[in-house]
Symmetry: C2
């Protein structure tokens, strides 16, 4: 329910998931969608922690994963910056998407649903209320 704008970044934090995961996911999303530009400075660890009213260590954990993802670069004494490599962002996006899709397809398989079933449901939602049977 907590809604916060910090610099170019927007966060919605709740208690449904670990805090560092929510920060990670939402920062990833902002970078992948270009809501924060290539090369742009991220909020500092301390600043983000203060704004979100959480511990700096928790922010650090998310930031370190962002760097492992190749989405940010850190410059000691200066701060954390979004990577200036569009390739990094693109390849991260495709890799994570592939992972999500594969995992999702396995879930559907476990429920005995085919790709056609899924398509039908999604199209039903897009044309909201035009008579999609919904699975």
């Amino acid at each position: 329910m907590e809604e916060q704008q910090v610099g170019s970044l927007h966060f919605q934090i709740d208690f449904s998931q670990p805090l560092y995961e929510q920060i990670l996911d939402q920062a990833r999303s902002a970078i992948a969608k270009g809501e924060i530009a290539l090369g742009e400075k991220m909020p500092s660890v301390r600043e983000l922690a203060q704004e979100l009213r959480i511990n700096p260590n928790t922010v650090m954990r998310a930031y370190q994963e962002l760097e492992r993802d190749g989405l940010t670069e850190k410059r000691r004494g200066q701060g954390t910056f979004v990577t200036s490599s569009a390739d990094n962002v693109a390849s991260f996006r495709t890799a994570l998407a592939a992972k999500y899709i594969d995992s999702f397809m396995e879930q559907m398989e476990n429920l005995g649903l085919s790709w056609e079933d899924i398509e039908k449901y999604v199209r039903g939602k897009k044309d909201s209320g035009t008579g999609g049977d919904g699975l």
Copy 2:
């Protein structure tokens, strides 16, 4: 890595997720796909615990959720049985699938991927190696 057949049920247990969740997911899947028939007796709490070499309390937790799902019925002194209501199974399946799909679509949205992007990727995997660019 642990692979176990217990009655009509098949389990693969590892340590990537809580044990009770894995039992729950795999039992749900077996019921949804009809691998265990309507009305059929499930392994007893103690038996399943012994076969999987885990604590009965952990099995209990999964079994209680199965009952809340409407997928099983318990008869004191007799055991746990798959529901005999095909409607229960069907409605559970659609409800859970809808939940998974909505959650998945949100993930894709967060990565800035459209439904067409997803379709392209999935079709590429189905025609394995016929030149799908993959996102």
